[in-house]
Symmetry: C2
Subunit: 485 residues, 2 copies
């Protein structure tokens, strides 16, 4: 914990007071929107709107100059026209504010002129010992202290995914995506032009953060490759890192260049670097979060042999297909396992792998007995499980014997809770990774209960199996990294 609280970014992410420039009585201004999000999130520290003329902003007393504040704010947020940024940064420095988020754009990303302006910011920061984030960023989110400086409401949970992104609105776009899985950021950074604080700094910091179980990176280009390499390698020994790199294709690279002014490198080079420092590469935004879900909740795997458990042939075959396409092999079960399975699997279904238990059997076998038989087998390094505990079926079944509808619903909920506990508990008993797949959305009770118990249920068999593959690769890479020492 010592390293964590001493890290320069700690104070920026845990401010007790914030001075906010750029909000006004005009509701459609970006600065106003960002201030409103900060307030509506329920930030508990002091918030000081800064404005040259207005007496109050968003119902709060406004201040004209940083030196007028009751005490130096822990953090300043600047959503100002480009031209005035240097002057306000200097004002912060003079008033003893040493953490600043510069949202304003119009610097390095627009060309030589902007680069000069950006360099001026760094000089001011150096002079006053300021650590700033940006410019051209959207700020940060730390749900554990109800901090959200972005323009988008954060309604996801306080979670375990630490995120650092070279695209600003990207992290805000993920807010709604995370909600679909009951996931949340532990802390999230938009690094913008990285004039002073870069993605490597965030990575180092998130590596120390105790709430962060896995780190997600959105990368358009790495500016200081050597430093990134050293830090990533150190962090990857402790916790998994998943990187989504879009600069590798020509089109992605050009898009990145015009976006944050960063020059992207060849795809294969980045893949090579990621591999060497133990980073898992994601090829889409969905993969990035899928992988984080599994890598942040499941234990490491000892190998790449996977068991597939299903009660529907199609999803089982799709999972098997995906396993092979993603570098895993389907476990060959031991004789002991086959013997135990035989009495559960009728002649019309499979006793091989996938294990296909048709719908006609006792549903509790599927959740309570079969997973254990499979995970006990030494030939199984991890398991994929197709999950479906549809409320309509459970309700219908209970209604057969219980007349009171209220009681029916209570019993159904209790049943789902119990079955989900069985599934979510497997990982702890066997110290092997287990992933689930279901087409049901989170509005189905069992999906919500499983996800909230930290069991990854992904929206399709293929995505779940692919994420398991990522975990197996990381397990191997981490072992190699630790052996190097």
């Amino acid at each position: 914990m010592g390293n964590f609280e001493e890290h320069p970014l700690y104070k920026m992410m845990h401010p007790k007071s914030i001075a906010f420039w750029g909000a006004s009585s005009s509701p459609m201004r970006m600065g106003t929107i960002q201030l409103m999000q900060l307030l509506s999130m329920g930030f508990e520290g002091a918030v000081y709107p800064m404005h040259p003329r207005e007496e109050t902003v968003a119902g709060l007393k406004a201040y004209k100059n940083a030196k007028d504040l009751p005490a130096p704010a822990d953090l300043a947020v600047l959503v100002l026209p480009t031209d005035v940024v240097p002057q306000i940064l200097e004002e912060c420095g003079k008033a003893g504010i040493d953490r600043v988020i510069i949202v304003s754009a119009g610097f390095g990303e627009i060309g030589p002129e902007g680069k000069v302006m950006q360099q001026r910011l760094v000089e001011i920061a150096d002079q006053y010992n300021i650590q700033f984030l940006g410019p051209n960023c959207i700020g940060v989110v730390n749900p554990y202290v109800k901090l959200n400086t972005t323009f988008f409401p954060y309604q996801a949970t306080a979670g375990f995914i630490g995120m650092a992104s070279q695209s600003g609105s990207f992290i805000t776009q993920l807010f709604v995506h995370l909600e679909k899985f009951g996931l949340g950021f532990s802390q999230g950074f938009s690094v913008g032009n990285e004039a002073m604080t870069d993605i490597s700094d965030c990575l180092e910091y998130l590596g120390e953060c105790p709430n962060t179980k896995v780190i997600g990176l959105y990368i358009e280009a790495i500016r200081d490759g050597r430093r990134f390499f050293e830090i990533a390698k150190k962090v990857a020994k402790k916790k998994p890192i998943v990187a989504f790199y879009v600069g590798g294709s020509g089109a992605g690279g050009r898009a990145a260049l015009s976006h944050t002014g960063a020059l992207a490198g060849p795809d294969l080079l980045y893949s090579g670097v990621f591999k060497q420092c133990g980073i898992i590469r994601a090829y889409s935004i969905e993969e990035l979060i899928d992988f984080c879900f599994v890598l942040g909740t499941q234990p490491l795997a000892n190998g790449n042999k996977i068991a597939v458990l299903t009660h529907s042939g199609g999803p089982g075959a799709a999972a098997a297909d995906a396993a092979e396409r993603n570098g895993m092999v389907l476990s060959s079960f031991g004789d002991n396992t086959l013997e135990k399975l035989k009495k559960f699997v009728p002649h019309t279904a499979s006793v091989g792998n996938p294990v296909d238990l048709t719908f006609s059997r006792n549903p509790n076998d599927y959740t309570e007995t079969l997973p254990k038989i499979l995970l006990e087998d030494d030939n199984v390094d991890g398991m994929f499980m197709y999950v479906l505990l549809p409320a309509h079926r459970i309700l219908e079944t209970i209604r057969q014997t219980v007349p009171d509808e209220e009681q029916v619903e209570q019993l159904a909920r209790a049943y789902v809770e119990t079955q989900c506990s069985e599934i979510a508990g497997l990982t702890t008993i066997y110290a092997k990774p287990v992933v689930g797949g279901s087409f049901c959305p989170r509005s189905e009770l069992f999906v919500q209960v499983l996800q909230d118990k930290g069991f990854p249920v992904l929206p399709s068999p293929e995505r779940a199996v692919k994420a398991m593959g990522a975990l197996m690769v990381y397990s191997r890479m981490r072992k190699a990294l630790l052996t190097e020492d």
Copy 2:
């Protein structure tokens, strides 16, 4: 339409009366569950439960023998123990029932003994001129006539995707997946062991179905390659076919074998066949439906040049990256287009492609003006659009000027409707395909409105762009097929 109604499968999918074997007073039997789904779907024809002893089943008068029915049923559904199936099939034949769905398993898929039994079914069918589906299938769904013989409730809409699947429960698993997009099947088949009716028959039939705009296939193995090839080629000239083939990897193939007893072929062979007859191959269940969504709603493309419109840099770069990885090129805009774009795109964002309109501009430009500028350019064959019209922002904005909360909500809804109409109408004006991507789920109003207007909004930029790629490939293949003639 003539061909359609004369096709042997038409009567099976549009029965006016159904004789149902295998349901009883025992609520946990598969047959009972299937009958309950049929009734709860609201099937409007006559339903005759068939039972040797019970007088009523599910509140309906039960019949002991097919010959006791008031008139021969248009369709029989058999959910019976394997042994009695031949005898009941014969009973059907004698009573003049000539369309039968055999759900019962334990035939060809279990080995030589089962194969003999299955052959017996074919002989009986031939003798009595019966067309049957199965055995070892889960039946059919035709939401247009409220027909659902499966065990799972169908709550999706009556849609435009025709589906034929070699996995039974697979189609039922898709019911919930379709709902997430507001999509639905036009008609869906589980073909099981294909003893008499195979996936090619369904493909031919769906090719004639006027409600079917696109056909999805779940394939574990094609039994009669030549016939499949001929039919697929004919159908693909009229409407798109998307096939998900899982038998190609060793693991997928073995899973398929134990599932429906079909022998899968090498991956590349299937890819080659698909290509030659104009079928788009999907590599996952999600892709299958994503591709169907776009191929079933969007016009053909004249080339592979795509415009990317975004207001968030990350998703834009991800879309550009995905475009290049999936065989598309980013359009180089004409001078005229660049000139028109200039006044909308501020200096901090891109004027190239992706077109990145930051959040700070008038939001209506994004939906009303920019898409038209892009689609008018001859260098644009199709467009991806990142869409986000978050209710919270719209509500907040309207609240600034309108005090009455009820009126605020009405105005917000009207605003979303108008903007979505603009977007969904683009395809008609320009006869070019447009796809949308958003991380927001369907519970966000704009997603629902767009999807219900037939505009494909997929859950990520990458998936939307990939589906656009599939459409562009199909457009090319179809042109080639038609040139052959």
